[in-house]
């Protein structure tokens, strides 16, 4: 169905609203953000989001929004496949399901199989659940885990709310992972050393080949600097790193560009990771995206996950570590190998 000559409805021209979600302030806010959108009431968000046989490729040109109330599973423990940055109590939050960017390698495509987004409007319940956990122990909470909240901030205001909540809860550390280059967002956020803006960075060759709809490297670097100017200590995430043609040269130049245009002193820490994806998600993505070289690469299956061969993975990690150590001390560099060895 996807074709350049077809005339598609605009992005978010349709908003599906769970009956229970009507009346929430966030529902009102989002609906007024899209005053001309068609509003369709549904009993459960899964009626839309989880329909069988959806096509990401067809839907990506005209995504729909789904507003819902999350009734359980508000906060989850972090996956072993993700960096924990030495944080014992690593959790993630699912305010929003799915991402507006179209990265070919993204595991969300394997997990959901739809381009539509769900926004859970009962923010207070997420905050209360976090408070419950905070009574037991400190919490390291990743906010943008199954989404990228930054490009949605003007629509939702969720990040500002979470940042204010973090400021008022001393045992809470939150990470906001993003590829978005909207600099204004950081100017409106309350500044705290316990709110970590985490920017995913890639060489422009990888961005244009695989990270469709995302800002280029220069713009992302500008966003890093803006966040730092406001008083944040940004995290840089070189994850996933791809062994594309001339990858050593591309990543060396990228690290140089990033470090010379930001400055090691403003960086909180960096993470390095290579592409990895669970077997089930890979199976779905290979079927759904037959023309994606990134997905069709003959990865090695190990312990239920597809990724590069051990040797190549280690080579990439060591290479990236060594390049970064030209600018930043080793204790600020986190790799998945470190996590696995702990």
């Amino acid at each position: 169905m996807r074709s350049d000559s077809l005339s598609f409805n605009k992005q978010f021209s349709h908003i599906y609203i769970e009956e229970d979600a009507a009346g929430f302030p966030l529902t009102e806010r989002i609906c007024s953000f899209f005053p001309h959108a068609e509003k369709i009431f549904v009993q459960s968000y899964k009626e839309i989001f989880s329909r069988p046989r959806q096509s990401y490729s067809a839907q990506v040109s005209s995504r729909s929004l789904i507003l819902a109330v999350k009734k359980d599973g508000l906060i989850y423990e972090g996956s072993v496949m993700c960096h924990d940055f030495d944080q014992r109590w690593f959790y993630y939050c699912t305010n929003v399901l799915n991402c507006i960017y179209d990265c070919e390698y993204c595991w969300l495509k394997g997990m959901y199989g739809t381009a539509n987004l769900v926004i859970f409007v009962n923010t207070d319940d997420f905050l209360k659940e976090t408070e419950r956990l905070l009574k037991e122990h400190p919490v390291y909470l990743c906010l943008s885990y199954e989404n990228d909240l930054v490009p949605l901030e003007n629509m939702t205001g969720l990040l500002k709310e979470w940042a204010e909540f973090t400021v008022s809860h001393p045992n809470l550390l939150t990470e906001i992972r993003t590829k978005c280059a909207d600099r204004e967002i950081w100017k409106r956020m309350p500044v705290s050393d316990r709110v970590i803006p985490a920017f995913t960075l890639s060489p422009d060759t990888v961005i244009s080949a695989y990270e469709h709809g995302t800002p280029d490297l220069k713009k992302r670097i500008e966003a890093v600097n803006t966040a730092a100017e406001q008083g944040f200590h940004p995290r840089l995430c070189f994850d996933p790193v791809f062994a594309v043609k001339d990858w050593q040269k591309l990543y060396t130049e990228m690290i140089k560009e990033v470090m010379t245009n930001t400055g090691p002193e403003i960086i909180r820490d960096v993470s390095i990771g290579t592409f990895r994806l669970s077997r089930d998600y890979m199976k779905k993505m290979r079927r759904a995206f037959p023309f994606s070289a990134c997905v069709q690469y003959p990865y090695t299956l190990k312990n239920g996950y597809y990724g590069y061969d051990d040797e190549l993975r280690k080579t990439i990690t060591e290479f990236m570590t060594n390049e970064l150590m030209k600018y930043i001390s080793k204790d600020k560099i986190y790799t998945l190998e470190d996590d696995a060895n702990e």
């Binding site: 074709s3 409805n9 096509s55």
Partner: protein, 278 residues
């Protein structure tokens, strides 16, 4: 191919005439019209049971492919002022009996008004006690969707309904339906033309490549698993700009094949993998 369903002939007559569809004996006991190339239309008869059973039987007989589309056309009663008259594209249909709702993807800009439809098993008469919040009432939509979802994904199903009455079915005649189907024909044609612009499914490998891979797999003494791996490696190679010929030449396969046994084939398969990812 566009597969069309309609309950009654007068609802579809304008479309049948415009696309010069000819009656055919594709489905016993039901009228089917086709041009054998781009469009095939079935008359399901009225009511949910007819709609579901005939749609399922019809589509099961057709060889529905990944590029095909379902278009359901018909009439409906208006339930509110907003949907008082006109042609609508349906964004939600609910089966009154089960309460189950169905939602086709609304991706293509049609310029048509949208609404929801309630599908019941009896004729609606003004004053009947039915749930609120729906624009239209009919006796087929949800049933057609339920049967067709076995064959079509949600982005390849389109439901169009024109308003025939406001809960006064006794006042609707066959000639009224025919007149309305004529009136809204241009909009239906526009949707058909838009849908036809959809990109057709393409393959990474040519037919020759596919045949060649089968030959290679035989010469390499591949198991079914190895054959799938080989297919994946060659597909990846083609995506990155390498041809099957370049792989064969690069690894001098012509001189090394046929392999003596599966073990030797495995070694060659590994070399092919390393060659395509280098």
């Amino acid at each position: 191919m566009i597969y069309v369903t309609a309950a009654l002939y007068p609802e579809a007559s304008a479309l049948i005439r415009h696309f010069r569809l000819k009656k055919t004996e594709l489905l016993r006991g039901r009228d089917v019209f086709t041009d054998h190339e781009n469009m095939t239309l079935v008359l399901t008869g009225t009511g949910e049971l007819n709609a579901a059973s005939v749609t399922a039987a019809f589509l099961a007989k057709m060889n529905v492919s990944d590029d095909d589309v379902l278009l359901s056309i018909g009439s409906a009663a208006s339930l509110c002022e907003d949907s008082g008259s006109g042609l609508f594209i349906i964004n939600k249909m609910t089966d009154l009996n089960s309460g189950r709702s169905y939602y086709p993807d609304m991706l293509i800009h049609t310029g048509l008004k949208e609404t929801s439809v309630l599908t019941g098993s009896t004729v609606y008469r003004k004053g009947d006690n039915i749930p609120e919040g729906y624009g239209l009432y009919d006796m087929e939509s949800a049933a057609v969707y339920h049967a067709a979802k076995m064959f079509f994904p949600p982005h390849r199903m389109f439901f169009l309904r024109f308003v025939s009455d406001t809960g006064t079915p006794q006042a609707v005649t066959a000639s009224d339906l025919e007149r309305l189907s004529n009136e809204y024909l241009p909009a239906v044609i526009r949707l058909v033309e838009e849908v036809r612009k959809g990109k057709k499914t393409e393959s990474i490998l040519t037919k020759e490549d596919e045949e060649h891979i089968i030959q290679l797999a035989e010469q390499m003494k591949c198991t079914e698993f190895m054959k799938n791996e080989l297919h994946g490696y060659v597909s990846y190679a083609v995506l990155t700009g390498l041809s099957l010929k370049q792989i064969e030449e690069g690894l001098s396969l012509a001189e090394r094949l046929p392999a003596e046994n599966k073990e030797e084939g495995k070694k060659i398969l590994y070399e092919i993998r390393q060659f395509v990812i280098q």
